[in-house]
């Protein structure tokens, strides 16, 4: 069993499991965020966000999530370092192989996502959770919620913030484009008929998720 954590194949296995977990998380995240532009007011968004913030199961999952991200990043970094060491003398002319464009730039997109994560967490999560910069709002059910939605809308009134988000989210999209099918391959799930389906799903997924997230600041900037 210990091989799973130390061998190349094992590390990749863990990375892909963590990655798949993050892939699922992104869907959840997007489905909540998208309500900001689907509905007139951020009420649904705020209610969902509060639920996510208070539910004990979700709280545990939050730890798991951060663990997953860290695990994915650490293993990714370790593997990447090993990969660089595996070719101490580089080619003068390289990478002309006719292969998937996105797969060649996973490291680059991973760095973009890391930058994004830092900005994103500073922007919202820390403000909401630790700095108390978020106002309260009371809805018709008589309960009081953090008005996180207002904060989001406020941030995305600033043009350069929107541009930064769009650019960084494109990086996420590129990363997902390769990683979705890659995770299945690493887990050993390759099949004559199903693999092309998984690859297509991966493309759809990356477009929908990245596109969905990108649409939020853009729509807010122009319409709200």
């Amino acid at each position: 069993m210990s091989n799973i954590f130390t061998s190349s194949v094992g590390k990749k296995f863990i990375m892909s499991l963590a990655g798949l977990f993050l892939i699922i998380f992104l869907v959840l995240h997007l489905s909540i965020n998208i309500t900001l532009i689907l509905f007139k007011t951020p009420e649904t968004f705020n209610k969902a966000a509060t639920f996510m913030g208070n539910n004990p199961v979700i709280k545990i999952m939050e730890v798991v999530l951060f663990g997953g991200i860290l695990l994915h990043m650490i293993y990714g970094a370790v593997l990447q370092i090993q990969n660089l060491l595996a070719r101490p003398v580089r080619y003068k002319k390289s990478n002309y192989s006719q292969t998937s464009f996105f797969s060649k730039y996973m490291l680059h997109t991973a760095i973009i996502i890391t930058i994004f994560l830092v900005i994103h967490l500073l922007d919202f999560w820390i403000k909401n959770k630790f700095l108390g910069e978020v106002h309260d709002i009371t809805y018709a059910d008589g309960k009081t919620y953090h008005d996180l939605g207002a904060l989001v809308i406020e941030r995305f009134q600033i043009g350069w913030v929107v541009i930064v988000y769009v650019v960084l989210l494109l990086g996420l999209g590129f990363h997902l484009h390769h990683s979705f099918q890659s995770a299945f391959q690493t887990l050993g799930l390759n099949h004559k008929t199903y693999t092309p389906v998984i690859k297509a799903l991966g493309v759809i997924y990356s477009i929908v998720v990245a596109g969905g997230f990108i649409s939020i600041p853009v729509v807010i900037y122009f319409l709200k």
């Binding site: 069993m1 091989n3 799973i4 061998s7 190349s8 194949v9 094992g10 590390k11 990749k12 296995f13 593997l79 090993q82 990969n83 060491l85 595996a86 070719r87 101490p88 003398v89 580089r90 080619y91 003068k92 002319k93 390289s94 990478n95 002309y96 192989s97 006719q98 292969t99 998937s100 797969s103 060649k104 996973m106 390769h178 099918q181 890659s182 391959q185 690493t186 887990l187 050993g188 799930l189 390759n190 099949h191 004559k192 693999t195």
Partner: protein, 246 residues
């Protein structure tokens, strides 16, 4: 046609090495790439210069001895060929062709374009076999093998051990090579007996020898002269996890 060659020259393992440019005229499109290099060498010998060292043996794409990194791709621009099968018709008059040896920590350069691939032997030594002593075999038809499985095992078994996959991989990973053997033997009932131990040992050897990790870019599959499928890497992964959890 006239071509310009930029060839990596390195005296020995410890030499730093450098690119040297050669102009070569009267190259026929009917030559193979290696015959073009033979032709260059004949010219260098006549001029009293040191010929370019490169490996080759069968010159029909089966021994796996040759293999050059040509214009940023293993075995040059054509698909499904070894370097010895690459025809000069793939190039045109006036082309500049950059020729480099395989680059990987596990494949140190010996001289010029010749690299040391004994690491592949070491991977096979770790478990790329079925442990049956001579004389201990049962009657050949005693164990039927599903036709489809035999064919798939063959598709993996045709690996020639040339190292194109490692050369092509952005991470210098040997996963396609390792998986081809793991997969071939795992698909046959004769090989199933040791499947777990085999996959573990071979992956461990691969890691220890300093190859990189697979990141599923698929460059190996594209550049493999025998067009061995990535699905074998998936099978290796599968074999590895079932070996790990059972």
């Amino acid at each position: 046609m006239n071509i310009t060659l930029k060839i990596w020259r390195q005296k020995n393992r410890d030499d730093k090495g450098k690119f040297v440019t050669y102009k070569l005229g009267d190259v026929s499109a009917e030559m193979t790439f290696l015959e073009m290099l033979d032709y260059l060498n004949e010219k260098l010998i006549r001029e009293g210069a040191d010929p370019v060292a490169f490996d080759s043996d069968c010159r029909e794409g089966i021994c796996g001895m040759c293999g050059l990194y040509i214009n940023g791709r293993p075995n040059g621009p054509r698909k499904g060929v070894t370097t010895c099968q690459l025809s000069m018709s793939a190039f045109k008059d006036g082309d500049t062709i950059t020729v480099e040896p395989w680059r990987a920590k596990a494949f140190p350069v010996i001289k010029d374009l010749v690299v040391d691939r004994t690491s592949f032997d070491k991977i096979i030594q770790a478990g790329g076999y079925i442990s049956v002593n001579t004389g201990a075999a049962p009657e050949a038809n005693a164990i039927p093998v599903k036709k489809e499985n035999a064919e798939r095992a063959f598709d993996a078994g045709i690996c020639i051990g040339c190292g194109s996959c490692v050369a092509a991989c952005t991470n210098a990973s040997a996963m396609l090579f390792v998986s081809a053997k793991v997969s071939q033997l795992a698909l046959l009932p004769q090989g199933r007996v040791e499947a777990k131990e085999r996959v573990r040992a071979m992956v461990q050897a691969m890691d220890e020898l300093g190859f990189g990790n697979c990141s599923n870019t698929g460059a190996c599959e594209v550049e493999c002269p025998k067009e061995i499928s990535l699905s074998h890497i998936a099978r290796l992964n599968r074999e590895y996890f079932t070996a790990g959890i059972t």
